[in-house]
Amino acid sequence: MFRADGDRHSEGLSPGSPGPGREADIIEHDALLTADDALLAARAVDGDVQAFAQLARRHGPLMRVYASRLLGSDGEADDVVQESFLIGWRRLADLDRPEHVRAWLMRIVSSKAIDRMRVRRSHDDIDDWDPPAPDASSPDRIVETRLQFDAMWLALNRLPPEQQRCWLLREIGGYRYQEIAEALGLPVSTVRGLLARARQSLLREMEAWR
């Protein structure tokens, strides 16, 4: 079999990136900004660092909010999110469905946050819980959905930490009752009760907006 297409160029290999240079970087960066998750994940699996960085830009903030509510601490959440991306990068080969990369990352951040909670539990049983930061968003030009979300967010933050954690692990992390129980070191029956109460409080808040 012979190569019948393309011209052979006699120039040597340029180190680093072959191809059209700076302009290409800009095109590439823009393309990645709007590319969907499945495509970015497929590239990341092949070792494309920029595609992985784009996934981190896109999903990092959600992972951080989630981890900081689970842990009650922003600083720890930062560490956990960074650790999660590193683990994600190492385990990309195990990602069966690239389109589910967000859920997969959320799963990793869940388990990393739980590890931290376990370490804490073994050291002390005082719940070191920061009060939620005041919402600094400006009150003008607020739409109904925003108001509802803000109200629900406040309602979530008012729940006792264990209720919040159960709800977050179930609804955001997709954990089963048994897994939540193991993660939090509680009996399954307790998890059931905590989850039901968390849902009840949030339902009340949601219905107030109907």
Binding site: L13, A24, T34, D46, V65, W153, R192
Partner: protein
């Protein structure tokens, strides 16, 4: 803590003897096995609908909060990249001939994939996805197959664009490597509007 002495686990008026906890668990099981006493109650069905709606709002609730936070600064991203760059798996070695037989030149598989991605990304209207090299890339002269995926800009003729992509990839690989490229299989996974994401 008294988990089971709460309002949520006491039968509620309007739920025909069921509790909100029960309904939540029923929903978490995907409403299986079918429970006629729940499904037959208008009050329970309404509560299930509300619980579903709440579950549906949950990611939006956190996402909205995440949006109101300052964006991830590039410094943080740069720090992350530095860590992961150190862990790049370069894959197999692709030999490159050199006039001096004593010199052994190789390109890494990761570099070859990079050449292919760049060839596609700079074509215009195409964003590359997957790039797999099938075959013995480390054997000089062995025929290899390329397995590619990409997204194409809405409105471009798919067949012709894929043909341009194939040609471009072959040309770039011929220019930078000595791989003998057999089939170049391209899967178009996504069509995206010009200058915008297909879905965000």
């Amino acid at each position: 803590m008294t988990p089971d002495r709460s309002a949520a686990s006491a039968p509620e008026p309007g739920l025909d003897g069921h509790t909100l906890a029960e309904l939540g668990e029923y929903l978490d099981r995907g409403r299986t096995p079918f429970d006629p006493s729940i499904e037959g109650s208008a009050g329970c069905r309404l509560a299930l609908a509300n619980l579903s709606r709440l579950a549906g709002l949950s990611t939006g609730l956190l996402s909205r909060q995440a949006e109101s936070e300052p964006a991830r600064d590039e410094l943080w991203i740069a720090g992350l990249l530095e860590i992961i760059r150190a862990e790049i798996v370069s894959g197999r070695d692709v030999p490159v001939a050199h006039p001096d037989p004593a010199l052994r030149l190789t390109l890494t598989e990761a570099a070859v994939r990079g050449i292919v991605r760049r060839a596609g990304d700079t074509l215009g209207g195409v964003v590359m996805g997957r790039c797999r090299l099938d075959g013995d890339v480390d054997e000089p002269g062995a025929v290899i197959r390329l397995d590619l995926s990409c997204a194409i800009e809405y409105g471009l003729p798919i067949g012709a664009t894929v043909e341009r992509l194939r040609h471009r990839v072959r040309a770039e690989l011929a220019r930078h490597t000595e791989l003998v490229v057999g089939a170049v299989d391209v899967a178009v996974d996504d069509v995206h509007p010009r200058g915008g994401a297909a879905d965000v």
